[in-house]
Symmetry: C2
Subunit: 493 residues, 2 copies
């Protein structure tokens, strides 16, 4: 049986390596690849993904798992090997149900739909995207049918991004958030804050230096991180010692600074995953929600906090003396924390952000349950946008077409953005219990204790447990809306 | 049987894609990767190479080839399918003979020896590198023994880089070159040419712009090339529409310009490989020698020629007006064509270059045939350097340790540098027969006819034939030293 375990581990190490290679291919395509290289890249990415899938879903993996069942039953369920076997079994059983033909068709339609969406968005022409959305949805419904045992269809889709989390659980959390967020928005939306100085000339070369400075200040091992410019910021990289984050330097805004802090959180998670099992599935990141808890923690709990800016604001003023010398830190802090309903999620503040996510979560369930016709989606979108945020959507480019996800078949993804935000506050409070002087440390520009806490209590767990069990082990509790609401209430009191 | 052919093609397309992915991994490691990423990269590269090797050497490929033998015998031997089967059979039979354990050991020792060599070179300490050289040579001898049917052992090693080319053939060409090169060197070595202006301040940012200008002037399809700085220039890239060349911008020299033209020649070869078979082995580059014929052609036949500089020199003067306005084009042309024996191959001029290559070719045969003790290699090296070039090697860093190849187990590689130079002149003369006003075109900055000729007569052949047959089809003749010698004689008359 140790022979079978070794063989399975070797197979799964190949899967992990292939996935890391795939990440490098994607990073390169977004940052370095000449535009014409796209044809090769599509073939290369498809090959690498197929090789990974063959290993997970393959008959040999099934045989090894069968052979290893007695061993698995005899192990301490918290041991590394037990967690490895649990995860591989779960993934194998799921992937083995999906015919290669369906998977290929989903990948194909996603690849073809993406440029159609980009053009439709540029021209604000939902009708031209509609047939592709229909194909994506139809494929997703066929996918859902492969898993008849779930309580509701949407559970299948959610599980791809937030494993072992039910739609009902997410709904309960969101329903608790909703009335309070709506009342907070109503309270705060007309509060007058002068943030005009945040718009205007911020030369990108200095933004670039500041981004590097922040990432180095937050901290990491030497010679292991890159920051590159891209149209859409993301964090990636082929391994824990090769972390690559990206940001977008707009010449008239400081947004790159906050997006860099956000991506730093994602990057640090990768950077501190458990080294001893780095080549195995249980040594990878847990879920999108846990990932997002890390990025939102660094972006918001650290990056929009008073202690951080007490320390860092003089440095930012040095970078932009003409613009920022006349602005006191209190005004700056208020300006980067304004609450302003808008129609764009990616630029939303901490309070309105949740409503953007809920809107999509609700619409996706309506789609999957056939409660909305896809051609009526723009109207449904705009109605919710008015109900939740009081904004009138000017056109579909700023409405239903704004996000890339649906074009790529990523249905079931959105709720993780808000789950992450909610969990980030629970994690923050757990850090505060162990490191009571956390805010004083941050005020002195010291981030080592925070990094170490996250490394030890969250990152070190890798993918050994589902996200809610990971959160419970890290904080003592599964997800709860309460701390998040209290945090927002306190912050905006 | 068509089913078997399709299956074999699909397998080999995977091999080609894996090799292209491998090239991207290597390019990234040399240009973009944070230093700490090296551990992941070694694992990822090893995996991709192993997956490619398994497909070529694997039993299934052998079965398919067996099944396809009747088809192969019935095909027109010049048809694409016949060339495909010929190449796959040749490669399979070769790779299947090599035990995976030996291949792994060779890769392992090469990976370990490389940093040892780098340190030994930095400290000019041959003794510390000697044990690793011994291990590399011992592994190569074990590898040679797997192919007992060859005329001489060195044939096995040469074949890895220059397929179906015998050591005796190369020796014959080199023996014809040798006396004439030696007499040319004796004639030219004391000719006084003032090239002092080539040393001094040449700001790298302008070198960068000039490199881009030259590559765009020589020509390529849009949005398909990158140029990046590296310590050692090379050409690579994951496909014909994603070509990546590198160069080194030294602040006190114009060498990057010539190295860029050299790498352009390699890149153009990749760029113009036959599109219809781009995913198959017979659609790849033919050999290192043919590759080098392309790079040397653009570097020397174009890049050190009078017509080119009549056209381009004013542009270079515009980039460096203070340094180059006082220098007439004739002086510049003479300066970039001086003959000066030195101990460094990579900086050698066109005349002395050949002797550097012959020195290594001869020593490698002595090594493989046991005619020299490895510990006596520095002495043997220095003696030849004195005999051939009249230079005294100051230390082993500038002597036997100067090249990386032996540390990586690349024995059998060097002769391709000179074979390429020799073939470049034969190809040039063939172009001149078809495009008699080639030099006038170059004098007007027009390179389309040259690009197209190379594309049609050399690049389009891919790897369908061994290098000498490729040369014969392109020029009407296999390798001959005569045109090369005549070219040098005429140039330096």
């Amino acid at each position: 049986m140790p022979g079978a375990l070794d063989e399975l581990k070797e197979l799964m190490a190949e899967v992990t390596d292939l996935r890391k290679i795939s990440r490098l291919l994607t990073w390169d395509a977004q940052t370095m690849m000449p535009a014409a290289g796209v044809t090769h890249r599509a073939e290369h990415s498809a090959l690498v993904q197929r090789l990974a899938h063959e290993r997970i879903a393959g008959a040999r993996t099934g045989e090894l798992l069968e052979e290893l069942r007695p061993l698995e039953d005899s192990l301490d369920p918290d041991s590394d090997d037990a967690r490895f076997l649990w995860l591989v079994r779960r993934t194998h059983e799921k992937e083995a149900r999906v015919p290669a033909s369906l998977r290929a068709e989903m990948a194909q339609v996603a690849a073809e739909a993406r440029p159609v969406w980009a053009k439709a968005k540029a021209e604000s022409d939902f009708a031209s995207f509609l047939p592709w959305l229909e194909r994506n949805v139809e494929l997703k419904l066929r996918y859902v049918e492969l898993f008849p045992e779930v309580e509701e269809p949407y559970d299948v889709l959610l599980d791809d991004y937030e494993p072992a989390t039910s739609t009902a659980d997410v709904r309960a959390t969101f329903e608790e958030l909703k009335p309070e967020l709506l009342s907070l928005i109503a309270e705060l939306r007309d509060r007058e804050v002068d943030d005009s100085f945040l718009r205007g000339e911020y030369p990108p070369d200095r933004q670039r230096a500041i981004a590097r400075e922040v990432v180095d200040l937050f901290g990491h091992r030497p010679d292991s991180w890159r920051i590159d410019p891209t149209e859409h910021p993301f964090a990636s990289g082929p391994g824990r010692d090769d972390v690559r984050i990206t940001t977008k330097y707009e010449p008239d805004s400081l947004k790159s600074l906050f997006s860099t802090m956000h991506e730093y959180g994602h990057g640090l998670y990768t950077h501190q995953l458990p080294e001893a099992i780095a080549r195995y599935p249980h040594g990878q990141d847990c879920s999108l929600g846990i990932h997002e808890s890390q990025s939102r923690l660094w972006e918001n709990l650290v990056g929009r906090s008073e202690p951080f800016w007490r320390f860092f604001y003089p440095r930012l003023q040095d970078a932009y003396p003409e613009r920022l010398r006349p602005v006191e830190v209190e005004r700056f802090l208020a300006a980067v924390n304004t609450v302003t309903p808008s129609f764009i999620r990616i630029k939303a503040d901490e309070v309105t952000y949740g409503m953007h996510v809920m809107l999509r979560f609700e619409l996706e369930q309506d789609i999957v349950n056939g409660r909305v016709e896809l051609r009526d989606l723009p109207e449904a979108w705009n109605a919710k946008m008015w109900d939740y945020l009081g904004v009138e959507v000017p056109d579909d480019a700023h409405g239903v077409l704004q996000d890339v996800h649906w074009s790529g078949g990523m249905i079931g993804y959105f709720s993780t953005y808000l789950l992450g935000s909610v969990m980030s506050v629970q994690i923050w409070q757990a850090v505060l219990r162990d490191v009571p002087d956390l805010e004083e440390r941050i005020g002195r520009g010291e981030f080592g204790a925070l990094r170490d806490w996250l490394g030890e209590h969250v990152h070190a767990l890798g993918r050994k447990y589902p996200p809610q069990e990971t959160l419970r082990r890290a904080t003592g509790s599964t997800i709860s809306a309460r701390p998040y609401l209290e945090y927002l209430r306190a912050k905006y009191a």
